[in-house]
């Protein structure tokens, strides 16, 4: 690059309903690296943005939950492919966002790509692990199957802005839920860029909606929202988590409480199972 050429900055935007809007509030906030150097202005998403995101997620739920598990698996794998193709960009963004060396950031991005692959493979298997054919004491066919809970609000981890975010988001959508995810407040840029990957991975618009800003501002609205079925509180501190769990009781949302996490470890099935319902169907057997 010639020394005289001025670089082109990217305007970071929200990702809602498959589109890239600015915050309806018109607000942005300054995002810096850990040393305080300016990186970008990120949208400071508002209550209204959160509500719009829930509407988009609800609209997308029927199609996404009704897609075949094979189809969802291919789309999650496509996300991994797209991310791999943009590896250099994400290594740079993660290094800047989290103050990591290039090699450490590369390891984080590689792990994130691999996490999409791991969950891509789960879409058509989790039902076999979690379902059951139940031997009832009578002439009845009885089968328990899993179904997605619905619209899941996700407060992504504050520290692990990219691998952590992928680790909480991928299991939610792998099983057919749709998501409204609030990014790390301090380091939202990798998550916002992930929206660009999702938009080019055949993922239907609205399945994932990405909001940058404050968990403490949007969280209460999402936790109290009557059309949100579940909330993942991973990115909330203890005080906020208690308040949000209390608010979530109003429509009995399924709540995943914050806990100690090691994002580099193999995830297990906990997060897949957290947002699944079990449906049991009976039918008489006879001639």
């Amino acid at each position: 690059m010639s020394e005289s050429r001025l670089g082109v900055f990217k305007t970071y935007k929200l990702f809602v309903g498959g589109k890239f809007p600015r915050s309806e509030s018109g607000r942005v906030y300054e995002v810096t690296d850990p040393k305080g150097n300016w990186l970008a202005n990120a949208p400071l998403a508002s209550r209204k943005d959160a509500r719009d995101a829930v509407v988009a997620a609800r609209k997308a739920f029927g199609g996404w939950s009704g897609a075949t598990a094979y189809n969802r698996g291919q789309i999650l794998y496509r996300i991994a492919e797209m991310l791999e193709g943009r590896r250099e960009q994400f290594v740079r963004e993660v290094a800047e966002a989290e103050g990591l060396s290039r090699s450490k950031a590369a390891a984080v991005v590689d792990a994130a790509v691999d996490r999409w692959v791991w969950y891509a493979g789960w879409t058509d298997k989790i039902g076999q692990i979690a379902g059951a054919a139940n031997p009832v004491a009578g002439p009845y066919f009885n089968l328990s199957t899993t179904e997605p809970t619905g619209v899941v609000a996700v407060l992504a981890p504050q520290e692990s802005s990219f691998l952590g975010l992928v680790s909480v988001l991928a299991p939610v959508i792998a099983t057919g839920n749709t998501a409204v995810v609030v990014t790390s407040e301090r380091s939202p840029l990798p998550a916002l860029s992930l929206g660009e990957v999702l938009a080019t991975s055949d993922l239907p618009g609205g399945v994932v909606n990405v909001l940058s800003g404050k968990a403490a501002e949007m969280g209460p609205h999402l936790a109290a929202h009557g059309d949100v079925n579940a909330i993942d509180l991973t990115g909330a501190d203890a005080e906020l988590a208690t308040a949000l769990e209390t608010a979530a009781a109003d429509n009995l949302k399924r709540v995943l409480r914050p806990r100690d996490e090691d994002w580099s470890a193999e995830p297990g099935t906990d997060r897949l199972l957290a947002f699944l319902e079990t449906k049991t169907v009976w039918h008489p057997i006879g001639v």
């Binding site: 692990i129 979690a130 059951a132 139940n134 031997p135 009832v136 004491a137 009578g138 009845y140 009885n142 328990s144 809970t149 079925n229 203890a238 988590a241 208690t242 769990e245 209390t246 979530a248 009781a249 109003d250 429509n251 009995l252 399924r254 709540v255 906990d270 319902e277 079990t278 449906k279 049991t280 169907v281 009976w282 039918h283 008489p284």
Partner: protein, 476 residues
């Protein structure tokens, strides 16, 4: 020529109810620390059956302490040994099942035909089923060595007192937890008899503790800081309050709450079978069933035929003495519940639905409500939206399967649903679309210990029964 039924009462002499009962704490019956008591009455006669202790905060403390102390040894016991205690309990329940069935019908008001043929067999089967899991938990799909949670605080309702106790206690104990259980205020007796069964089985003291009391006892139990697991079956309103109470704690929570199930009948359904299913769906246990089929959705083309057959069948239902073996519908559990049913039924009329009930003579003492159906119900009516928890059926109509799904899912609840059609692909399509935890196709109100039960949405979360039911009591 009209046939009359002669009375066919089950004998009360198989059950010996003491004039008073204490709390069952640490293997002993003892009075409440502040000496408070309350009476439990038979809803069919308003006769006082016994006086039981009203547990207060200090009793809750003592029971949780006893359960905590017992947890250490109970959880360390080899699973095979815990299993044998549960198998013993299952067997003793079978031995004493007639006594317990009569007791349940006396205290609850449900017909002996149901307590004898449904409740008690399911209670014994539930303990037998979970007994077998106690030494096989590593094979249940929750890791190779899942651990119990600790002390479980369990609060159960009055509609199936002993069965709900079984659903709570059997998996909790199998997984190695100890329990403090509070039966419902109006139906405390079978849980106290269960305490005696624990004694007969030689269950170590403190593993099961029974606290009788009202809502305040339950609230103190679920709020107790040394409880690790809260399990509640009851109203959605109380369930939400409990969810708020445990917010911000480490307590694991499962809730099995209300419902407003749609029972959907298509024009190709076998009408006679569907009528039996509708009757079983809403009039089983006086309609005191969270998964009751309380909204009948009938396809317009068969509405007249179906309703005529349904009314004819309802006219043959026998309402009366719960201990009479010919009784189909027993007593409403309490005066308070009767008032709620009456008020909601009145709202149905006031909002413009048409009320119908067969002619039937109701006994002069006790709490009774005739089987009732409403036609001309719209989705906006309270009787189509609110859980009545009584023998009241709201009838709505639909034209297409899509409309049936839309109406069936138009509720904050999601516990159960019914589908009646001869077309297999339609059953599976409907079952897929209905947002409910249990779907009965061409049957209704079937239960089994191997079959997970529980709701979507505001019907709660967690499953009871089957392999799934273990998760609520393990650290997974």
């Amino acid at each position: 020529m009209a046939f009359e039924y002669a009375p066919a009462p089950e004998s009360r002499s198989v059950v010996d109810i003491a004039p008073s009962y204490g709390l069952f704490v640490d293997g002993e019956f003892r009075p409440a620390e502040d000496g408070k008591v309350f009476k439990t009455v038979s809803p069919s006669s308003e006769e006082v059956l016994s006086e039981v202790a009203q547990a207060g905060q200090s009793d809750v403390d003592a029971a949780v302490r006893a359960a905590r102390k017992a947890f250490e040894k109970w959880s360390a016991l080899p699973g095979a040994e815990r299993a044998k205690y549960l198998f013993r309990i299952a067997r003793i329940i079978q031995e004493r099942s007639r006594e317990l069935a009569v007791l349940e019908s006396l205290d609850n008001g449900k017909p002996i035909r149901e307590s004898r043929d449904a409740d008690l067999p399911l209670v014994a089967a539930h303990f037998f089923y979970y007994a077998g899991w106690a030494d096989k938990l590593g094979h249940a799909g929750f890791g190779s060595d899942p651990k119990p949670l600790g002390v479980a605080g369990q609060v159960i309702p009055w509609n199936f007192p002993l069965l709900m106790l079984a659903w709570k206690i059997a998996p909790a104990l199998a997984c190695g937890n100890t329990v403090v259980l509070k039966p419902a205020e109006t139906t405390p007796l079978s849980a106290l008899f269960f305490a005696d069964i624990c004694r007969q089985a030689g269950l170590p003291k403190g593993v099961v503790n029974i606290l009788t009391g009202d809502g305040s006892t339950g609230a103190a139990l679920v709020a107790h800081p040394d409880v690790n697991k809260v399990a509640f079956t009851g109203s959605t309103e109380v369930g939400k309050a409990i969810a708020r109470t445990v917010a911000g704690t480490e307590k694991k929570l499962t809730l099995e709450l209300g419902g407003k199930a749609a029972n959907i009948v298509f024009e190709d359904a076998p009408i006679d079978q569907a009528v039996e299913g509708i009757v079983n769906g809403i009039f089983f246990n006086q309609g005191h069933v969270c998964c009751a089929g309380s909204r009948l959705l009938v396809q317009e083309s068969v509405q007249d035929e179906l309703l005529e057959a349904l009314k004819r069948r309802m006219s043959t239902l026998r309402v009366g003495d719960p201990l009479d073996k010919n009784t189909d519908i027993g007593a409403i559990n309490s005066a308070e519940q009767l008032a709620r049913i009456k008020s909601l039924a009145d709202s149905g009329e006031a909002e413009g639905a048409e009320r119908w009930a067969p002619r039937c003579e109701l006994p002069s003492t006790g709490y009774w409500f005739a089987p009732t159906l409403f036609t001309g119900v719209t989705q906006a009516h309270r009787i189509a939206r609110e859980e009545i928890f009584g023998p009241v059926l709201s009838v709505l109509t639909f034209r297409t399967p899509a409309e049936a799904v839309e109406k069936a899912n138009n509720t904050p609840y999601g516990l159960s649903a019914g589908i009646w059609t001869e077309k297999g692909s339609r059953i599976l399509w409907m079952a897929d679309k209905l947002r409910a935890g249990v779907v009965w196709a061409n049957t209704f109100n079937k239960f089994d210990p191997t079959s997970p039960f529980g709701g979507y949405k505001e019907s709660g979360f967690g499953r009871e029964g089957g392999r799934h039911g273990l998760e609520a009591y393990l650290n997974v």
